[in-house]
Amino acid sequence: MIKTRVKKILVAITAAAAMGAASTSYAEEPIRIGGIYILSGSAATYGEFAQKGINLAVDEINASGGILGRQVEMVYEDSQGKASVAIQAARKLVYSEGVDALVGLDSSGVAQGMVPTMPELQKPLIITHAATPDVTGKLCNAFTYRISVNVAQNMKAAALVAEKLDATNWTTIGPDYAFGHQSWEFFGNYLKELKPDVNLMSETNFPRFGAEDFTPFIDRVMDSDADGVLISVWGGDLVNFIRQANNRGFFEKDYELLFTVGAATEVLSALGDEMPEGVHLSTRYWYDAYDNDVNAHFVKAYVDAYDVPPSYNAEGAYAAIYAYKKAMEAAGTTDASAVAKALSGMSMEAPNGTITFRKGDNQAMVSPNWGISGPMNSKYGIRTLTDLQIFDGEDVARSIEETGCNL
């Protein structure tokens, strides 16, 4: 499907170029942005959300005159959730599709593999989902930016939530790759700093990503002395986890539970009222958390178009296109180095408030959201979030020195 779309676009461009060679100037060719997301397999829903957010932004921008007077055109490639595929996709987008900029990346593993190749590609990349701290840390480079919340920011917020809870013996259940391990590592370090008497248990649980049956790990936690559990299982795995934990009576015990990606709308709508009430849920963006014009407009437009509230992944992708608009207009060109330079230190109004790409590590100062699962929202069939906390982006960010980024 994607290929045919790309082909159609190519044909259209060739035709347009042939017909208009004499009369159209180069500047009126569309600006092309390449999107690399998971578009097949188990996590395809994340790529689809990103596309929905992007399409909304592109339609809005094109309807109001485009960027630098040029229309915006997207070209998508499927990362399949694999770093090697994403690297190939990026090369294809840059070298044969001739895109001016890139957005994307749904997985920490993909981001860790692809980001080091960005200086070779010489095009700016705004990461809209992948959360590993490394890509705006020790792997950072002048072409890589991130508009979404990273693990370090969210785990600082999680530690601030956990600090106020009674639990003293903490363990984790998380996917067995960068995301699960780094979530636990950052959470543990921050919590220990805030509350030195907590015990970070050495018995941790890292089931395979896509494991489907989490019962053995749930049983293991229930047999242990843990009274606090950080759960970074996400997506379809989280849906399976919650249902199996319900079966085991896990939520009837008095654990303090922190779900680091628990308030993802796709998970909440799959689970409905099977998501228990009274557990701590986080998301990188909660549609109901921000009282500003951009958010009001974004949520309304998204609900009008797709009948569901926007997920965090749609928001990040939507905002990234507007970030390019602002940076390209500030630079007055689509030249990659100039756009990258304009992004660095740039502030913009996004659905989640005023955000700034910090000079030094290119990480946007964005606010993690934490809340407690509340009564059902009957309109959307998902749990509401009560006691919502919007952490200040600057407060939860690491210092530049701590990131290990040296730009």
Partner: protein, 289 residues
């Protein structure tokens, strides 16, 4: 003790679900000499059809358990008539390519028809909730999966050992030309066996639907597990599918609980050990099988 007991029941429910799926793969290989890469995709189709019948049409679970596998079996007849029949006489690599193409087509079709979102099917009222067994809370549905697995096991054993159809299938598996000489319509047997394998995959999908979230990658996940089962148990072997499935179930059930640090490694370690000492699987016949 309750820990071990609940881990055992958990292993059995994982293992017997895998058995239902892997045995279909094995029967198709045994009779048709085809490794059906699309077997996992047929399992997924079974689950999504059940989702449609239960959540959208509003049928009870039991109706879906009857109808969805039937639908998938009909599709399998069409696949056999219009695609597979042309490659039965060819090298096994051709069937690998063809069924892999089918897998991609079915995966993409599922994503286009049902979307990429995560879907959930509720167990029937009768099987909802948990029971207290030996001090731990066991989902009633897990017990149902175990009962279904054992019932299918008994049914298959009866089919192969005590019925004429079963004997014909075994004859066709042993020597198709000889069977033809004996006036067995092997074309019909071949179609029937492929449809039966698909039916088993879809039964597995319907049974899995209330306990596992549905997404367009669920077929890929199960086919990898099923291949591990047949490698451990022995390709083409009926008891091998059972043994392999139970072993893999135990690896998952106990591995995650007692050896969590190496839980990802264990299934492959088990597979490597079997390949090292019994290259054709524990119950596998010689290379000619």
């Amino acid at each position: 003790m309750s820990g071990i007991g609940s881990a055992l029941l958990n292993s059995l429910d994982i293992g017997l679900l895998l058995f239902i799926i892997a045995v279909g793969l094995n029967i198709v290989f045994g009779v048709l000499n085809i490794i059906n890469f699309a077997h996992g995709a047929l399992y997924m189709l079974g689950a999504y059809l059940a989702f449609t019948l239960i959540n959208i049409v509003g049928m009870p679970f039991w109706a879906a358990l009857l109808l969805a596998p039937l639908g998938v079996a009909i599709l399998a007849v069409l696949i056999d008539r219009f695609l597979l029949r042309y490659i039965y006489s060819r090298d096994i690599a051709d069937s690998l390519l063809l069924t892999f193409a089918l897998l991609l087509i079915i995966n993409e079709s599922v994503r286009m028809i049902w979307g990429s979102g995560i879907q959930v099917v509720q167990p029937p009222q009768l099987l909802a909730g948990s029971m207290d067994i030996m001090g731990s809370s066991i989902p009633t549905y897990s017990l149902f999966v175990i009962v279904m697995g054992l019932a299918l096991l008994a049914g298959l054993w009866f089919l192969f050992n005590r019925t004429r159809i079963g004997r014909i299938m075994r004859a066709a598996a042993l020597d198709r030309d000889m069977a033809e000489v004996l006036c067995i319509n092997t074309r019909l047997v071949v179609t029937g066996v492929f449809a039966f394998g698909a039916w088993l995959a879809a039964v597995g999908g319907v049974i899995a639907a209330p306990m596992r979230a549905l997404d367009p990658g669920m077929g890929d996940k199960i086919i990898i597990e099923s291949f591990i089962v047949v490698v451990i148990g022995g390709l083409g072997s009926f008891p091998g599918a059972l043994l392999g499935a139970i072993i893999l179930g135990l690896i998952h059930g106990f591995g995650g609980r007692y050896f969590p640090e190496v839980n990802m490694l264990l299934p492959f370690l088990g597979m490597a050990l079997v390949l090292l000492f019994k290259p054709n699987g524990i119950m596998g016949k010689g290379a000619a099988a």
